[in-house]
């Protein structure tokens, strides 16, 4: 079920009032049923798979919590991780690797007809698998106690706002919220509604308006002029940000309405002044997950410079593959790995550039620590992102450079094939002229409309959030301006009339 569909509107119109009147235990049960209905709407075939892994991880969690011997605890943790990764591997990667191996063996004359599963990738499997691993590891690390009530754990795994595209839930932050009664507040409702308004605007007015241009250019890179390729690339860079951060805003808004607090996932990533800064602002739930459950266990920066660079590269390479079973995602991740390693190399011992400066005191951070323990404090990432001390012209240049470096990686992320991606890059950097009569046409009128929406997004949403370091800064503006902003965003959303319900990009992962 897509958030931007009437089916979801009807779904939430039933779920939310019901949620409001129920007591906390029944809220969890109802949310569990609603989440399974939400998921079953998209993937009825794979409901059992999610239920199965949930049941297994629930019991493993109890075993880890009850065991006293470290080896037993470790054994159960490994069993859970292996089981989760095996399921992810089979459903998401098996066909891809089997075909890749067969293809490569074919090149040296060995014919292999691998047995393929061909059932498709279950929606959201990458996300809920990471929820489950986070839970098991957090229980093992004693950041949280194991859930004793199955419904609490099951609803944490399947919570519908974040089920299919995140933010990736962190057990130590979220589980306590499912185990205790939530309190709905007026402030929470205001913030929730505002975040949803932002999310729908980003998705429907910006991302969906950019999508046709990006799609047209990326499906025909061979017949595009350099300027068209650049337009397509900028359009996709904006589209993926507006699409994914829009989804996150809606998810967080829905959760806020119900009294939950999901971790922030985006913090104006395109305002980043270097690549490390970018990854503190982009898909924060994934980058912190990778840091805590992959980069640090790999050794982090503890084994010398070379090992640090290797770990960074490996983490981002695997992070790339997490997005999908394709070499293009691996290349995308690898490029980011190289960028991060190179940035770390250039910065040398200047750790101040790489680490967030002293945590800015923030209610959010304290509140997170209070509920989820010290381990959860880090998730209040946006408040902790330090600003560069550079003068503004230098910051603008650094921001532009970072944006273009990131944009370059999107080519591999979204091109249909590696050949297309390479042709795209070649087209940008060479003077090849498109054969007359073969070039594609981009509707500049529609593009101007889409650009106006981007401008509104930057001026009304991103800049105030960046300056005030508050995702709901608008709530503090004076009444006429606030009303004008709400009305403008709403009317803009209402005006959109695309012919297709464009699915969220991250639904495919």
């Amino acid at each position: 079920m897509q958030f931007n569909s009437f089916a979801f509107l009807a779904f939430f119109a039933v779920v939310f009032p019901l949620y409001c009147v129920l007591n906390f235990r029944w809220q969890n049960r109802m949310l569990l049923a609603a989440s399974y209905l939400f998921y079953g709407w998209v993937e009825p075939r794979f409901l059992c798979l999610m239920a199965l892994t949930t049941i297994i991880d629930f019991f493993i969690g109890i075993r880890i919590g009850d065991a006293e011997a470290e080896t037993t605890r470790k054994r159960w943790t490994v069993a859970s991780i292996v089981m989760n990764l095996a399921i992810l591997g089979v459903f998401k990667y098996y066909d891809f690797f089997a075909l890749s191996i067969a293809e490569n063996l074919g090149r040296i004359g060995i014919t292999l007809n691998p047995l393929l599963i061909k059932v498709g990738v279950p929606a959201g499997i990458s996300f809920y698998t990471f929820h489950e691993i986070s839970y098991t590891v957090d229980v093992y690390r004693k950041h949280i106690r194991p859930a004793r009530k199955f419904e609490d754990f099951a609803v944490f795994i399947s919570f519908f706002p974040q089920l299919v595209a995140g933010p990736i839930g962190r057990a130590s932050w979220q589980m306590p919220q499912f185990e205790k009664p939530r309190r709905m507040t007026w402030q929470g409702w205001c913030e929730g509604a505002l975040l949803m308004l932002f999310g729908f605007f980003k998705k429907m007015a910006v991302a969906d308006a950019m999508a046709p241009f990006a799609a047209k250019v990326f499906s025909n890179p061979h017949v595009c002029s350099r300027s068209q390729l650049l337009i397509g690339l900028y359009c996709f860079s904006i589209q993926i940000y507006a699409d994914f951060s829009g989804y996150t805003d809606i998810a967080r808004g829905l959760a806020r309405l119900m009294g939950f607090d999901l971790i922030e996932n985006f913090n104006q990533p395109y305002f980043a002044t270097n690549i490390t800064d970018f990854w503190r602002r982009w898909h924060i739930s994934l980058s912190t997950w990778l840091r805590d459950y992959l980069y640090i266990p790999l050794g982090g920066n503890r084994g010398g410079k070379f090992n640090t660079y290797r770990n960074l590269f490996l983490t981002m390479f695997l992070g790339g593959l997490w997005h999908g079973a394709s070499w293009k995602f691996a290349v995308w991740g690898s490029m980011h790995g190289i960028y991060l390693a190179a940035h770390k190399f250039m910065m040398g011992d200047n750790e101040a550039e790489l680490k967030p400066r002293a945590a800015i005191p923030s209610e959010h951070s304290e509140q997170m620590a209070a509920v989820g323990g010290e381990a959860a404090r880090d998730y209040a990432a946006p408040k902790n992102v330090a600003r560069s001390k550079d003068s503004w012209p230098v910051r603008v240049v650094k921001t532009a450079v970072t944006f273009h470096l990131v944009a370059l990686t999107w080519i591999f992320f979204t091109a249909e094939t590696m050949t297309d991606a390479l042709a795209f890059i070649k087209g940008i950097f060479s003077h090849t002229k498109v054969v007359a009569g073969k070039a594609i046409k981009l509707d500049m009128g529609d593009l101007s409309g889409a650009a106006a929406a981007v401008l509104v997004m930057i001026l009304i949403i991103d800049l105030p959030q960046y300056v005030k370091r508050d995702h709901c800064a608008i709530l503090k503006w004076n009444l006429p301006v606030r009303a004008l902003v709400y009305a403008t965003l709403f009317i803009w959303i209402v005006m959109m009339r695309g012919l297709e319900n464009v699915p969220f990009i991250y639904f495919q992962f």
């Binding site: 009147v21 809220q27 007026w186 009569g437 594609i440 009444l479 606030r482 009303a483 709400y486």
Partner: protein
Amino acid sequence: MFRSSIFNFESFEGFGPRVPNGLLCAVALVCCVELGVRVAPDTWLFPYYSRLGFRGFMEHEVLPKFKEPKIAIVGTSRAADAFNPKALDEALGLPEFSTVNLSIFGSRTSDWLDLYQRNRAKLSHCKLFVVTVDEWTFNSGVGNDDQFSLDAPLADRWNYAIPHFERLREVSPHEKEKQREIIESTQLKRNYLLADWVFSMRLKLGYVPQAIAKSLKLGKKRDPIFDQYHMVRSTSAESGKETLDPKNFHERIRNFYKNFNPHPIYFRHIEELARLIKEDGGRLVIVHLPNRRSYQNEVDKLFPNEYAKHLSVTQDLAKRVGARFEYRKYPEEIGLVDTDYEDYCHMVLSGTMKSTKWVAEILRSELNTK
């Protein structure tokens, strides 16, 4: 407040509701905008060159020139460029200003019915009413349906997707997947139609800047031109070499045929139109013009079944309403050559003369039929 062990509103403890001033003001603003575009007269809001304004141009600038038209032609931009009323009058031996071409670019069945209903006093003089259909005329998968989106009754909007659900039961299992896609697209369109019913600003607000510019006499005048051939040529034709590359036709063809599904609501419009014409003593003729050969070849490759279905449902419709249906699939059948076209279907003057000659033969025999 009612409380039980299950329903106890416990989440609301300490909720502290306040008057949502910001929200109320925003709602008031949205209502003002909606009311504003609803009360704005169409003649002010829609400039003549726009799709929704073109009808006004036809009604206020073209139709008054014709006192008692004998033949009226409606259709899309293709028909606007294909039929020369002055030449038709001459070919049929009718006095000047007997044939009026009221074709509106991007128009559909509801526009033609609407045009007839609004101008019935004048159009009831017509002995022949020619409807020029396109491949997408009855297809619910095509989106440009602005006038219908503004004027359709609520029942039509609400029931828009229902016939498709009914059809799902009839199709074979291997066609079910395709039918589901069609249903999805029809549901989306139904949702848009409902949204348009609530918020007419969805269509109208975009015209406000143009209307203001027009009122202030800013920008250059772009009104359509009623020319010496009594034609109002469309500006829809595309130029440039790239528009003629068969591969570049694919996107357009897919747009026209995607989720191809002739929808009963559009047939109903023609049925109603036929009833009115019959009541007024006229006769309905349905024609379908050939596309450029290179374009039609691509259609034959990509969507042959859909094209055949379009023809067969149009034939059935014509039979139902007692109208004559004439079509030519390939341009050479009426002597058209590649250079007679400006793009995939719009004709230059040489093509206009050939297609006018072809339709004149049809109309002559119809006029001679008692």
